[in-house]
């Protein structure tokens, strides 16, 4: 493997002419971009080798460089995407070098989002076909170039390990040796992809390509960028959302050794210094008086009440089957409850940061972003420059989880950099990072069901209110009061429910912004749905697994994962007192998943997740180790939210500040996790977030099994669970 740090392309001019992707439509309707082969002969040529498309470059020295349209934030995409290309290109992973894609919405848009972004667990779903096609097209051209050289038919040649062999004679030319010739050939108009039986890489465990620098301190994250002469800044933003700086006394701050400059913005103050230690010391010495604005009385309870009230009215109908009101009216048993989930911060381990160098007619940015083109666009607006005058260098990401789909950190850095001579790295303290996050929305659900004599659900009605992140982030995808994210996991359930209705009402909280948070819409919807089906099983006096299973005749993939998880978890086997098992089942992000959590509730109410058994059918597995790793990761992330996660507001400000008040599951609390994979040849499903949405209800259901207490509000309230 060649890995000497991951290069960042900032010269998007050389790529923009090789525009080969046909762009179309909006989000939510499947594959929106497709390879529009062939493209012009001149486009495939480059000065020193061969670049048949925006992802593959082969130099005359044989170096294979793959440009990554998705960003690496720990989810393994810098290994799995190269596997797709390498499978068809016939190179091994040790021969490739990776580059971050530059901002270019035309070349590098996510096919499932329509914009250049990595999120919603859809990199593999979007890349599955186009990336293999990109590799195959390049291989066909390289083989043709070698065949021409020898004057033989291409069908008598074979590509393997970065070289072409003429099978009858054993003659061999490396890709580097034929790269220049290949660049002059027409690009094939259609390519045939390998059948699954012929895969050499896909489905086999591949070592991650991004790791070696991450164990010796050489990997470069956004926060590690150090352009020559860079100063370090940290900032205080108005503690009350929407507030402004009223007065500032910076005398003390200016006296701190190493402090160079104080930058006053309308709603924030930054201290620029030689190092972050001096910047923080200077920040502490500032005397800022804030005009708190109109939100100084805002608290979480007010927001929750508003959402509660909203669910008494009618929302936009996301899905309707049969006649739900009539069916409930005629039901033998009726169950009606409400659920709520809190605001959550992302708390990526790498705090928010961005380095910016504002010059007279251009601006340069160093950042780790999940949406680099968005950063470029919004930084350009903040800088007052045309977009092509903003040069953006992307970096490895120290945790994304949706936080780095936002450009607020870049905007702040540009605002500050405009007043600073030379490059400035703006690093948020952890307190700023938590108190000025853009949060996972607070949602409130009012849900009801009717059961027949056998306890089987004949009606299901869910009306929920909360923020639509999509409406702000990708406005065209918010239509008629609905968006595809807010309702995922609440509609298209795996269960056979003859009368079914789900309504959503978008209600934005005052002042605070919401954002995507790992497992997005399903982070809330699966908690509600899978808690409620558990409640129905209880109302029907039936076992939670058996109750679900009886509703799965039309969804065999769901039934298979449920059966597998239950079997591996020892479902039904006796447990000690105050220990319980809880199950959850979902089909979100294109993958079926069941989890069984085993939870112990101490006499003081403390919740300990001891063991989690997960069964997944994610279609074709690309890198088996990534499947395991992502599910382990997602489960810890979701379990942290279920046990601890809550951002609350009081007097218009966030109450939590750092990891003492916004707690994380740590080594001593981490459950044992088993992941079992159902073999499948379906196209790959998403993985990065599935574990997170599924674990929350599994824990809540396990707590019920252990204590008889049904938690309808997350996180688990210890005071309700005392023995």
């Amino acid at each position: 493997m060649i890995f000497d740090g991951i290069a960042s392309r900032s010269d998007n001019t050389s790529l923009s002419r090789r525009s080969f992707l046909a762009s179309g439509g909006a989000l939510g309707g499947g594959l929106m971009l497709s390879l529009s082969l062939p493209f012009g002969r001149a486009d495939a040529a480059m000065a020193d080798g061969f670049a048949p498309n925006a992802y593959v470059r082969i130099g005359n020295d044989g170096q294979v460089v793959l440009t990554m349209p998705y960003v690496e934030m720990g989810q393994g995409t810098y290994t799995s995407i190269p596997m797709l290309i390498a499978e068809e290109l016939e190179v091994n992973l040790k021969q490739v070098r990776l580059e971050h894609a530059p901002p270019n919405e035309t070349l590098y848009a996510n096919p499932l989002l329509g914009v250049q972004a990595t999120g919603n667990s859809n990199a593999m779903r979007g890349a599955w076909k186009p990336m293999r096609e990109a590799g195959a097209a390049a291989r066909i051209m390289l083989v043709a170039a070698a065949a021409n050289r020898w004057g033989v038919d291409a069908s008598s040649c074979q590509a393997q390990d970065g070289a072409v062999t003429h099978v009858p004679t054993g003659r061999r030319l490396t890709y580097g040796e034929v790269a220049a010739d290949a660049a002059t050939l027409p690009i094939p108009s259609n390519v045939t992809l390998k059948s699954q039986a012929d895969f050499k890489l896909i489905g086999t465990p591949a070592k991650r390509l991004d790791v070696s620098g991450k164990i010796n301190g050489t990997a470069v994250y956004g926060i590690d960028a150090r352009p020559a002469g860079v100063k370090i800044a940290t900032l205080a933003q108005s503690p009350v959302f929407g507030g402004r700086v009223k007065s500032l006394d910076d005398t003390g701050a200016k006296a701190v050794k190493g402090v160079r400059q104080i930058v006053r913005l309308d709603d924030a103050v930054a201290v620029v210094a030689d190092h972050m230690g001096a910047a923080k010391k200077g920040l502490a010495a500032l005397k800022i008086e804030w005009d708190e604005g109109t939100h100084s009385g805002l608290d979480t309870q007010t927001i929750a009440r508003e959402l509660d009230q909203a669910t008494l009215g009618a929302g936009a109908i996301a899905q309707s089957i049969g006649d739900v009101d009539k069916a409930i009216a005629g039901a033998v048993t009726k169950v009606e409850v409400s659920y709520q989930v809190p605001f959550l911060a992302h708390a990526t381990m790498e705090p928010m940061n961005c380095t910016a160098h504002f010059r007279k007619d251009e601006c340069e940015i160093w950042i780790g972003s999940q949406a680099i083109a968005r950063v470029q666009r919004m930084a350009a607006e903040a800088a007052g420059l045309p977009q092509d005058k903003v040069i953006v260098h992307n970096h490895l990401i120290g945790g994304g989880f949706g936080r780095r789909l936002e450009a607020d950190g870049a905007i702040r850095a540009v605002q500050i950099a405009k007043q600073v001579d030379g490059p400035v790295k703006v690093v948020w303290t952890r307190e700023e990072d938590i108190q000025h996050d853009m949060y996972r929305p607070y949602w409130f659900d009012r849900i009801s069901a009717g059961l027949d004599e056998q306890g089987r659900p004949v009606a299901w009605k869910n009306r929920f209110a909360g923020s639509s992140v999509i409406a702000r982030w990708l406005p065209p995808a918010f239509n008629k009061g609905l968006d595809p994210d807010s309702t995922e996991g609440a509609i298209d359930l795996v269960y056979d429910l003859p009368n079914f209705q789900v309504e959503f009402m978008r209600v934005e909280p005052p002042a605070i912004l919401t954002a995507f948070w790992r497992s997005v819409g399903p982070s809330h919807n699966v908690f509600v749905t899978e808690s409620f089906i558990d409640e129905l099983a209880v109302a029907a006096k039936q076992d939670p697994v058996a109750y679900r299973r009886a509703l799965l005749d039309n969804t065999p993939r769901a039934k298979a994962v449920l059966d597998l998880a239950a079997e591996k978890a020892g479902w039904g086997q006796k447990l000690q007192e105050r220990v319980g098992r809880g199950v959850s089942l979902q089909n979100v992000f294109g993958s079926y998943m069941a989890q069984v959590a085993e939870v112990e509730v101490a006499k003081d109410g403390t919740v300990r997740v001891r063991r989690v058994v997960c069964a997944i059918d994610c279609g074709t597995v690309v890198n088996p180790d990534t499947v395991q790793a992502q599910i382990q990761s997602g489960i810890i992330f979701g379990a942290t939210a279920a046990v601890y996660g809550e951002i609350t507001l009081k007097n218009g400000r966030v109450e939590q500040t750092n990891f003492d008040t916004y707690q994380m599951i740590r080594m001593n609390e981490a459950p044992a996790i088993e992941v079992h994979v159902v073999k499948s040849t379906e196209p790959p499903g998403g993985l990065g977030e599935s574990g997170t949405s599924a674990i929350v209800p599994a824990i809540a259901n396990a707590i019920f099994a252990a204590t008889g207490k049904r938690l309808r509000k997350m996180p688990a309230d210890v005071s309700l669970l005392k023995a």
Binding site: R226, L396, A629
Partner: protein, 153 residues
């Protein structure tokens, strides 16, 4: 004020206030960015270095408290036997995801292994619970420490 500190066997002269945290001297003054910032309050362990072999949170360690003590960072821990064993186990066991916290995890784990060649689960809990991993690599960290310890048998 001028201080001379010993980082990875080299004397480094820095001119900062005595209460400047070691973390920022390493990262911003000396340009050694392998040591990471996570919380600034010794709550997350991302900034862990060794001071005379002891895992120490550099974000709350002031420069004037170090004197002649030997500082080892992630950039050089691979030169110690325990550090090399831990790094190898991390690679072999594919521990890393986003990787941001792993400098600190590796520093904590290598200090543990150097002092306890055969750590128990309780030892691992005690040594590693100060290090947060938001990617949730705990399961693999535990396994990798045990894997590294096998080399000591």
């Amino acid at each position: 004020m001028a201080f001379t500190i010993n980082v990875n066997g080299q004397a480094q002269n820095v001119d900062v206030d005595g209460d400047a945290p070691l973390l920022w001297v390493l990262r911003d003054v000396l340009g050694m960015t392998g040591t990471k910032f996570g919380c600034g309050m010794a709550l997350c362990g991302a900034c862990t270095v060794h001071i005379n072999g002891v895992a120490t949170r550099s974000c709350i360690t002031t420069i004037d408290s170090i004197e002649k003590a030997k500082i080892t960072t992630i950039e050089a821990v691979g030169a110690t036997p325990a550090g090399a064993q831990i790094q190898k186990a991390w690679l072999d066991h594919e521990v890393v995801q986003c990787g941001y916290c792993q400098s600190g995890q590796i520093m904590s784990a290598s200090a543990l292994l150097a002092s306890k060649p055969q750590p128990t689960d309780a030892d691992i809990d005690e040594a590693m619970s100060g290090n947060i991993c938001r990617c949730g690599t705990y399961v693999r960290i535990r396994e990798a420490i045990k894997l590294a310890a096998q080399a000591n048998k």
